[in-house]
Structures are given as structure tokens and as C-alpha cells.
């Protein structure tokens, strides 16, 4: 096990910047997720850590050692890809053993190691089969077992669950965590699905447009998004963002959310601009009565209800603006139906319209 430090890495392909001054640290023995949308630069970053890609600028450290110029085969890293290739002419046993055979380990040790990881991944009963005799989920387990067999310092995962169907993803998420808790090792896990990050990782690196937006423990970053990108990337579904104006009336300050006035006088010292972006988490929106509680209300029309597993993501339109609401049970509202939803004023996030940086959260 070893810590990984990525220091000021930049990389461009054909003049297009893929990574731009990327720095972060992965703690020794931690499970760190690199989370970002498609095209954020995740795969390139993993390839640079693995040593199969060379950065234009910057350095990679394993522990205190600068490995930037160390070739991939001498770095002792192991990588699992989104589309995993097993050797079709080899049995599962031989597939898992292949990286150990290359290392010239004694036969006895190979046997011990293969059986260990097979046990861990619950594929001991598959060792004599050929890849064509495996289901998609089983094949991915074998690919992961092969990566783990190597006893690497650092394990790199590039969206390993993307191509699996949802029932297998569901069980793999809790299993991968169990496996790494037993095995130990420094894990860097790239994904575009925040569900993976929430379920498995301790720390997260938010990558957007080739730049690091925020790093830290997952819970902390989720609770305190520094900017609009993090607020949308580490969230499920993404935070609603509405452009609003600041109104000054006498000595009072109001956010004008399309006619809903929210008193923000107490934030006077932070609010100097005329326009802001208000962020509302979909899970903070709830169904409300027409009654008089102190809620910001949105009488909306349903566009569509998406049922995700056991939860509902309800897409609404209000004054021509799209709002997304998260409901923790199954509720099918029909398109065109009218509903009144609302949010507590102290649940608002306020971001700078110019920089996208967070200015105030929960009215503080």
C-alpha cells in the first residue's frame, strides 16, 4: 500500500486540454473516487497514474517517491477497465493467474493467491470454466479478481460497473466495499455515477472539464459543495439551479425567485451583486398544501415521473422553468397533472452567478 500524490498534472491531445493543473492526494489505504461527467478527463488521469500515459506537465508520487518517469510495468499498479477483456482460450483460473505467471512467482504461491481472491469474489466454483461460459457479472468478477491477484500497491478502476445490469451493480457495490476492507490497498475508482461514489468511497475528487473542483471526504463534499459544478456532480439527482435577482427595498434585501420573495437581509454583508444562482436540492422539495406555512411555493405541472428503483424523480415545470424533485417512495404522477411543491427558505444554496462559487448555504 502506498499513498498517491498527483501534482500539477496537465495533459493535452492534439492541442485540446484534457487535464489542466490537476492536483490531489489519495491517502494510503483509502478508497478514493474520481467523480465527473463523461469527458471530464478521468480515464486520462488514471492512465497517467498507471504510467501508460505521460503527462505534459506535473508529477506523480507514490509515497515520497517521484514515479513520473517510472514505466508502467515497474509501478506495481493494477487496473480494471470498463470493458474488461479476458483471455478466451484460458480458464478462469489461468486468467486470474496470468499476471502472477508473468511475474515468475512459484507455482505454490500462485495457487494460494488465485484461491484467495477467488474466494473473496465468490467465484471459486467457476475456476475451471472458460470466459464464454460466464455471465456478464461473473466475467467482471473474474476481471477484478485478476487485478487483485497481483497484490499491487495501487488499484485503479475505470467505471468497472458501467456495463453490468442493475441487479449485479446493486450487489457489486456492497461487495466491492467488503472486498477492499478485507484486502486493504489504495484504491482510485473513476466513475460518472455518484451512486458508486456515495456507496463505496471515503474520499472524492470532483473532476470537471479537466480541472479539480473539490476534494475531501464524500460526506463533507456533499454537505458543502464549493461551487455549482460540485453541487450537480456529487448529487442524485443534480441540484436545481435557478437564476434570480437581488431586490433592495428600504433596508430589506430579497432574492426574487421568479416572484417568490425570500428575505435575505441577514446576508447583507455577502450579497453585493444584482444577480445570483439559487440552488435547491431535489430532496428538499416536498409536496405542500396551499396553506400558509413559511415555504417557497411552486405551483407546477408534471412533465414526467421517473421511477429509479424504489424512488421517484419527478420532473416539473413552473413558470417555464424545469424543477426536479426527489421523492423517496414510488409515486407516479401523470404528465400534465398540477401539483404544489415547496422548499423551506433555509434550505437554499446561493451561488455567485459570475464565478459559480457558493456564497451561502441554508441561510447562513
Amino acid at each position: 500500500m502506498v499513498s498517491v500524490r498527483v501534482s500539477s498534472i496537465s495533459k493535452a491531445f492534439a492541442g485540446r486540454k484534457i487535464l489542466d493543473d490537476v492536483s490531489f492526494e489519495v491517502k494510503d489505504g483509502s478508497f478514493t473516487s474520481i467523480l465527473g461527467p463523461v469527458g471530464a478527463g478521468k480515464t486520462t488521469l488514471l492512465r497517467i497514474i498507471a504510467g501508460v500515459e505521460y503527462p505534459d506537465k506535473g508529477s506523480i508520487y507514490f509515497g515520497d517517491k517521484d514515479v513520473t518517469d517510472v514505466p508502467a510495468r515497474l509501478r506495481n499498479v493494477s487496473m480494471v477497465y470498463q470493458s474488461f477483456a479476458l483471455y478466451p482460450h484460458m480458464t478462469v483460473y489461468e486468467n486470474i493467474a496470468s499476471p502472477l505467471i508473468i511475474k515468475n512467482l512459484p507455482k505454490q504461491e500462485i495457487d494460494k493467491r488465485v484461491n484467495e481472491v477467488a474466494e473473496l469474489l465468490k467465484i471459486s466454483h467457476l475456476l475451471n470454466r472458460f470466459p464464454r461460459e460466464l455471465s456478464g457479472g461473473e466475467a467482471q468478477r473474474v476481471a477484478i479478481a485478476r487485478a487483485l491477484a497481483k497484490n499491487a500497491d495501487v488499484y485503479l478502476f475505470d467505471e468497472p460497473l458501467t456495463n453490468l445490469d442493475y441487479k449485479i451493480r446493486e450487489s457489486m457495490r456492497s461487495e466491492l466495499r467488503r472486498i477492499f476492507e478485507e484486502l486493504g490497498g489504495t484504491i482510485v475508482y473513476a466513475t460518472s455515477d455518484p451512486v458508486d461514489t456515495f456507496a463505496m468511497a471515503q474520499d472524492v475528487v470532483i473532476l470537471y472539464g479537466g480541472r479539480v473542483m473539490q476534494t475531501g471526504p464524500v460526506e463533507e463534499v456533499y454537505e458543502n459543495p464549493k461551487n455549482i459544478h460540485t453541487s450537480r456532480i456529487l448529487a442524485r439527482p443534480p441540484m436545481n439551479l435557478l437564476e434570480v435577482e437581488l431586490r433592495r427595498e428600504g433596508d430589506k434585501l430579497y432574492l426574487d425567485i421568479y416572484g417568490n420573495l425570500v428575505d435575505v437581509s441577514h446576508l447583507r454583508s455577502f450579497l453585493k451583486e444584482d444577480e445570483y444562482i439559487v440552488g435547491i436540492r431535489p430532496e428538499h422539495i416536498s409536496f405542500v398544501d396551499e396553506g400558509g406555512e413559511e415555504l417557497i411555493k411552486f405551483p407546477s405541472t408534471v412533465i414526467m415521473t421517473e421511477i429509479e428503483g424504489s424512488e421517484s424523480i419527478i420532473h416539473l415545470e413552473w413558470k417555464g422553468i424545469r424543477l426536479v424533485m426527489y421523492y423517496p417512495y414510488i409515486k407516479r404522477l401523470l404528465p400534465g397533472q398540477n401539483v404544489v411543491v415547496g422548499v423551506e427558505p433555509n434550505k437554499l444554496h446561493i451561488f455567485s452567478k459570475e464565478t459559480g462559487e457558493l456564497i451561502s448555504k441554508y441561510g447562513r
Binding site: 442493475y166 456492497s174 456515495f198 430532496e283 414526467m304 421511477i307 424504489s310
Partner: protein, 357 residues
């Protein structure tokens, strides 16, 4: 539009592989149904049999009351939309007009129909563009439009959203739902994705190992799964399924004891051993010391964050449960108190897996 009726359909592929093992089902006229199941369950075979691309080994296919088992796909007039959008190498307009020109419709009627469909699918400003230049979502719209202009008897959509990026997928799903409601088409769409089935359709047929296990509304399938497979397959996470036994009118599972004397008779007809099912969101969890006598102490073995919610993996009394809760102050290894919402408990036959209550 027609009702599609399947009667005792069996299909055996060469090599004696029985893909469909006796399916009887009626997809009513003007309804939107999903055919949902894991890969290899036989849903694609069944879809091909409905479309007429495959003749079943046994059984009959009816459109309304007409036996169409021996009719070709053309004679059945079924519109099909596939996973990979099929567009012809011509303009969007010509793509949409093609099925009508083949049928030798007068030119102004072709124009009228194409415009109607283009309007519906929001393709009006794209009619002059080359179809292959559109993104996947746009091409799938063209494929759907081409199916629509022919006024088919029914629509079959085979995983139509799989290869479309998430943003346009949402828009397209909403569009299809709107079209189905507006034009009252009989639509069957085939999918392995339960989220998609629950999102879109009014009826879901859950299929596994060549059989239809349940055909009902999404709500019923979710709340009252016909058997343990449906309970596992529908919902994320799967319904908790744990062993339980019946003793003196009480259902005992780990340290949970529920009085079921009102239904004990029904249960006893099936023996004394059962499987209790309860959804993760129907467990209540408290960090307070035994809020009420019937609450049970369990250890929180793992916390899986779902973002807005937590999924707690709980163990105790020899059983393992997953509970969905609001974000709370808790650490792995802590003990919590748990209650099952009694009205949400389902009981399955241990041998057959069929739901009893």
C-alpha cells in the same frame, strides 16, 4: 389498434432449448405495456413471435379475435422500433415519407401525414436535414415517426432508449408516453431495466425463465409481487426476503415477532415455514433505546449512502435486512432499534416462492 392475445405460446430452439414455456397473456387494446425480464428470460423470443418474425413451436397469436399466427410481419402491420435507431440514408422528410410512398399514397396526403408526425415528434425544423446527421435521440425519433405514419395495428419497441444519452433519453421517454396517451396506440416495449418499465408503462409483464410471472400495474407489482423472484427483481434494493416460521398465530423471524392470528389459518394451509418480505423503505430505524416493546435491536454492519438517504445493512437474531432511512448520525458497528411496518409485510410460500399474503 388491436388487442394482442397470446395463447399457450411455447417456443423451442434447435438443440432443445425451450425459450418460452407456455405463455398466455392479453395485451389490451390501446394500453402501454412493458415486457420486463433479465437477459435470457425469453422476452426477445416472445416479441419476435408477436411481430411475426418467428413462428412459435406451439400456441396461437390473436389480434383482437383474428388468428394471425400464420401471417407475415407485413400482414400483421406491426411497427417495430429497435435498440439501434434505423434510419435510411436520406433526408428526415424522405425517411418519414418512405412507408407511404411504398404504399403509393397520393403526394399531398403523404405531405400531410409526414407533417403531422413531424409536428408530434418535434422534427419539423429538421425535415430537410440528412437523417444520419442527427444524434442518436434524433435518429430514434425518425425511426419512431416512420413507424407512426403507417398507422400500425400495434407498436413494439425493443430497448429503444438503451443507446441514447441520458439527457435526450428523458425527453424521448416523455415524448413516447405523450404520444401513446394522445394516439392511444397499443404499445409493448421490451426492456431489462425495471426503472424504465416502472417509469413508462401502465402495465408490466415480468418474465423469467420463459414464463410470465406477473402482469399488473407497476404499483401492484411493486407492492404485491407475485413471488420471490419479482420481489427481488423489482426495486432497488431488492425486497428483503428472510426466513420465518409460524408459531401459535405468531410469525417469527429472527427476533421479530408479529401477531398474524387473523391470517394464521390461511398460512397454516401452506405449512409452518415461510419467507417474509419487506421493502427497505418499510423498516423504521431509531437510534433511541427501544422506542416501543416490539422494536428489535440490530447491529448496523454497513452504511451505504444513497446521497439523500442511507441504506443501512442490519444484522441480528440470525437475519440480515437492508433499511432505507433519512441521513442520520450513525457509525458502522453501532446498534439501532428496528421495526417493520406490519401492513407492509408480505409472506411467501417457502417451497414455491409464491406470495400468500
Amino acid at each position: 389498434m388491436v388487442a394482442i392475445k397470446l395463447e399457450n405460446i411455447r417456443h423451442v430452439y434447435p438443440g432443445n432449448v425451450e425459450a418460452v414455456k407456455g405463455v398466455t397473456i392479453t395485451f389490451e387494446d390501446k394500453t402501454f405495456s412493458a415486457l420486463l425480464g433479465p437477459s435470457g428470460c425469453g422476452k426477445t423470443t416472445l416479441m419476435k413471435i408477436i411481430a411475426g418474425l418467428l413462428k412459435p413451436t406451439a400456441g396461437r397469436v390473436y389480434f383482437d379475435n383474428e388468428d394471425v399466427t400464420d401471417l407475415s410481419p407485413q400482414e400483421r402491420n406491426i411497427a417495430m422500433v429497435f435498440q439501434f435507431p434505423v434510419v435510411y440514408d436520406m433526408s428526415v422528410y424522405d425517411n418519414l415519407a418512405f412507408p407511404l410512398i411504398v404504399r403509393k399514397l397520393p403526394k399531398d396526403e403523404v405531405r400531410r401525414k409526414v407533417n403531422e408526425v413531424a409536428e408530434l415528434l418535434e422534427l419539423k425544423d429538421k425535415l430537410h436535414l440528412h437523417a444520419s446527421a442527427l444524434d442518436a435521440g434524433g435518429r430514434q425519433r425518425v425511426a419512431i415517426g416512420r413507424a407512426l405514419v403507417r398507422s400500425p395495428n400495434a407498436f413494439i419497441l425493443d430497448e429503444p432508449f438503451t443507446n441514447i444519452d441520458p439527457a435526450s433519453r428523458l425527453v424521448l421517454r416523455a415524448k413516447i408516453k405523450e404520444i401513446q396517451k394522445e394516439l392511444k396506440q397499443t404499445m409493448i416495449f421490451v426492456t431489462h431495466d425495471q426503472a424504465e418499465a416502472l417509469t413508462l408503462s401502465d402495465w408490466i409483464a415480468v418474465m423469467n425463465e420463459g414464463r410470465i410471472l406477473q402482469y399488473d400495474t407497476p404499483e401492484t407489482i411493486y407492492d404485491n409481487p407475485a413471488n420471490t423472484f419479482v420481489a427481488y427483481f423489482i426495486g432497488i434494493p431488492a425486497m428483503n426476503l428472510v426466513d420465518c416460521s409460524l408459531e401459535d398465530g405468531k410469525l417469527i423471524s429472527g427476533e421479530f415477532v408479529h401477531d398474524v392470528s387473523n391470517v394464521a389459518e390461511i398460512l397454516r394451509a401452506h405449512g409452518t415455514e415461510f419467507i417474509l418480505g419487506i421493502r427497505a423503505e418499510h423498516l423504521e430505524v431509531s437510534t433511541e433505546e427501544r422506542p416501543k416493546p416490539e422494536w428489535v435491536r440490530m447491529k448496523c454492519a454497513m452504511i451505504e449512502s444513497l446521497g439523500a438517504l442511507y441504506l443501512l445493512h442490519l444484522e441480528g437474531g440470525g437475519i440480515y435486512l437492508k433499511a432505507k432511512t433519512k441521513r442520520m448520525k450513525i457509525s458502522e458497528g453501532n446498534y439501532v432499534w428496528v421495526r417493520m411496518k406490519k401492513e407492509k409485510i408480505r409472506v411467501f410460500d417457502k417451497k414455491t416462492g409464491e406470495r400468500i399474503i
